[in-house]
C-alpha cells in the first residue's frame, strides 16, 4: 500500500486522529462537569457521536488507504443502507416489490462497478436516464395504478439521492486532475472531512449561540448563528487543507464554502422528508447519530457539486 508512504495523507490521518482524541477528552471532561439532566442528555449524545466517529473514521481511513477499491465498497454499502432506510420510511406498495428488488440488487452494484471501472460516461447517466425509465417501466408492468406517479417518484428519488449522489464521492477517484501524489484520495478526504465537520461545527455553533431559526417549520435546530458560524469554520478548515489538494488557498476556501452550503441544504431537505413522515431519525444503526441517512444527508448534495466543480476547473 503505497499510500502509507505518502506523508501528506499520513498527516491528514494524524490530524483526524488528533481531532477525535481532543473530542474524546473534551467529552470525558464534560461528563464530569455537567450536572443538569438536559445538559447530561446532550453530553451523552455527543459522546455517543464521538464513539461512532472513531468507528466511521477508521472505516474511512482503511477505505482511503486501500486505494480505489475499498472506497467503492464502503460507499456502495453506505448507498445500500441509506436506500434501505429511505424505503423503510416511504409509503411503498406491495406492487413496488420487483422495482425495489432491482433497485437494490442491480442498480446499486452496477453504479459502483461503473465507478470501479472508471466509466464516467455511463456512470453519470445510468440512474438519471436508464434508472428513471426502468423504474417507471417495471412499475407499469406490475399493473397497479393507485398513486402510480407518487410511487414511481419515491423510488426514483431514493435512487438519485441514496445511490447516484452518494456514488459521486468515490467517483472522485476516477477524476484526472493534476496535483500532489494520490490527489484523488486526498480530494475524497477533503470532501468527506469538510462536509462532516461542517455538520459538527453547525451543531456546536447552534447549541452555543443559536437564536434565530432559518426554517422553523422544518428544523428548529438549524439557526442562522449555527449556519454562519459552522460554514465559516468549515471554510477555515477547508482553506487550511489546501496543501493536500489541487487548489490554491482561495480556491480551497471557495470549494469548502460550496461543500458546506450544499451540505446544509442537503440536511434541510432530509429533515423536511423526515418531518413529512413523522420521524426524527432515519434509523438506529449508528449509536447517537440516528441512521446512516442522517449522517450522509449533507454528503448527498455536496458530493455531485464538488465533483463537477473539480472536474470542470481542475
Amino acid at each position: 500500500m503505497s499510500v502509507f508512504r505518502d506523508h501528506e495523507l499520513l498527516w491528514l490521518m494524524a490530524g483526524l486522529a488528533t481531532l477525535l482524541l481532543v473530542a474524546t477528552a473534551t467529552g470525558q471532561v464534560l461528563e464530569r462537569v455537567v450536572v443538569t439532566a438536559p445538559a447530561r442528555a446532550t453530553v451523552d449524545n455527543v459522546n455517543a457521536r464521538v464513539r461512532a466517529w472513531w468507528v466511521m473514521s477508521l472505516a474511512f481511513a482503511v477505505a482511503v488507504a486501500s486505494g480505489g477499491i475499498g472506497s467503492v465498497f464502503l460507499f456502495a454499502l453506505i448507498s445500500f443502507l441509506a436506500l434501505r432506510e429511505f424505503v423503510t420510511l416511504s409509503p411503498t406498495s406491495r406492487a413496488d416489490h420487483a422495482a425495489l428488488v432491482w433497485s437494490f440488487f442491480l442498480v446499486i452494484p452496477l453504479q459502483y462497478v461503473l465507478v470501479g471501472v472508471k466509466w464516467y460516461g455511463l456512470f453519470s447517466i445510468m440512474i438519471p436516464v436508464y434508472g428513471f425509465l426502468f423504474v417507471t417501466a417495471r412499475l407499469v408492468l406490475a399493473g397497479e395504478t393507485e398513486r402510480f406517479l407518487a410511487r414511481a417518484a419515491v423510488i426514483q428519488w431514493g435512487l438519485m439521492a441514496c445511490v447516484y449522489c452518494v456514488s459521486y464521492a468515490p467517483a472522485l477517484l476516477l477524476l484526472d486532475v493534476k496535483g500532489p501524489a494520490h490527489v484523488n484520495a486526498k480530494l475524497l478526504f477533503f470532501l468527506v472531512v469538510v462536509v462532516q465537520l461542517s455538520d459538527v461545527f453547525q451543531y456546536v455553533w447552534g447549541k452555543l449561540a443559536g437564536r434565530r431559526p432559518i426554517a422553523p417549520a422544518i428544523s428548529p435546530n438549524k439557526t442562522w448563528e449555527g449556519f454562519v458560524g459552522g460554514v465559516g469554520c468549515a471554510v477555515l478548515l477547508g482553506t487550511s487543507l489546501w496543501w493536500a489538494t489541487p487548489f490554491n488557498p482561495w480556491q480551497a476556501a471557495l470549494m469548502a464554502l460550496a461543500i458546506a452550503v450544499m451540505g446544509f441544504v442537503g440536511g434541510l431537505v432530509m429533515s423536511a422528508i423526515k418531518r413529512d413522515r413523522g420521524v426524527k431519525d432515519y434509523g438506529a444503526l449508528i449509536e447517537g447519530h440516528g441512521g446512516v441517512l442522517d449522517r450522509v444527508d449533507s454528503l448527498l448534495f455536496a458530493a455531485p457539486l464538488f465533483f463537477h466543480l473539480t472536474r470542470f476547473f481542475f
Partner: protein, 209 residues
C-alpha cells in the same frame, strides 16, 4: 458457521431495532411465540437473541414445507435444528384427523424441548398480512399443559411483511422492529380459548408503542 452467515445476511437485509421488555438473565427453557409474516421471521428472531439463548433456540416449522428439497432439508435439520411438525390443515398422505395430527405436533414439540432447549413458534400457523395477528392454533395451549414450567415470551415482528411478502422470493432490504414482551404463562384452570386469546393479544399489543 452457515447459520452465523445466514444470520448476518438476514440482519443486513432486514435487521433493525430490537426491544426487550425484560432481557432474560438465565437460560431457562422458554417458548418465544411470534406473529408470522415472512420466511425471514425465524432467522431474525433467532439472530436477535443473546448468543447464550440463541444456541438453545429451535424453530418449530412446517414439515410439508421444510422436507421438500435437499437444501431446505439440510437447513432445517443441520443448520437450524428445527422441530418439524405437520400442520393440522395440511394435506398429509395419511387419513388421520386434524386432532390426531395436533396431538402428534405437541408431542414433537415436547420432545424437541428436551431438557434444555427453547422453541420459537408461530401459533398463527401460517403467514399473515402483517397488520393483524390472526387467531392462534391450539398447539401453544396443549404445549403449556404438558410443560407448565415453560416461560412464554410474546414476540412482535413489524415490517417484515414488506421485506418479503407472501409469494415473493427475493427480499427488499428494510429496517424491521422486533419487540420481546414480558413473559407470561398458562394460569391454573384457564380455558383454552381465553388463554389463546390472551397470548394473541400479548403479541398484538406489542406493536409500535
Amino acid at each position: 458457521m452457515i447459520s452465523a452467515l445466514l444470520a448476518a445476511g438476514a440482519r443486513l437485509v432486514a435487521g433493525g431495532t430490537v426491544r426487550w421488555a425484560q432481557l432474560p438473565a438465565d437460560t431457562r427453557q422458554r417458548v418465544f411465540f411470534a406473529n408470522h409474516t415472512s420466511h425471514l421471521d425465524f432467522i431474525l428472531i433467532w439472530s436477535s437473541l443473546p448468543p447464550r439463548l440463541r444456541s438453545k433456540a429451535r424453530p418449530v416449522a412446517a414439515g410439508d414445507y421444510w422436507e421438500r428439497g435437499p437444501i431446505r432439508r439440510y437447513l432445517a435439520h443441520r443448520v437450524f435444528k428445527a422441530v418439524l411438525i405437520e400442520r393440522a390443515g395440511s394435506a398429509g398422505d395419511d387419513d388421520r384427523g386434524p386432532e390426531a395430527r395436533g396431538r402428534e405436533a405437541v408431542a414433537r414439540m415436547v420432545e424437541g424441548l428436551g431438557s434444555d432447549s427453547s422453541l420459537i413458534v408461530f401459533p398463527e400457523g401460517t403467514r399473515g398480512s402483517g397488520e393483524h395477528v390472526a387467531q392462534f392454533k391450539s398447539g401453544l395451549y396443549y404445549l403449556c399443559r404438558e410443560r407448565p414450567d415453560l416461560e412464554l415470551v410474546p414476540v412482535r415482528l413489524e415490517n417484515l411483511n414488506r421485506v418479503l411478502p407472501k409469494g415473493e422470493v427475493i427480499p427488499v432490504p428494510m429496517i424491521s422492529r422486533i419487540s420481546f414482551g414480558s413473559p407470561m404463562g398458562l394460569v391454573e384452570g384457564e380455558p383454552k380459548e381465553a388463554f389463546l386469546e390472551r397470548a394473541r393479544r400479548a403479541v398484538e399489543e406489542l406493536a409500535d408503542s
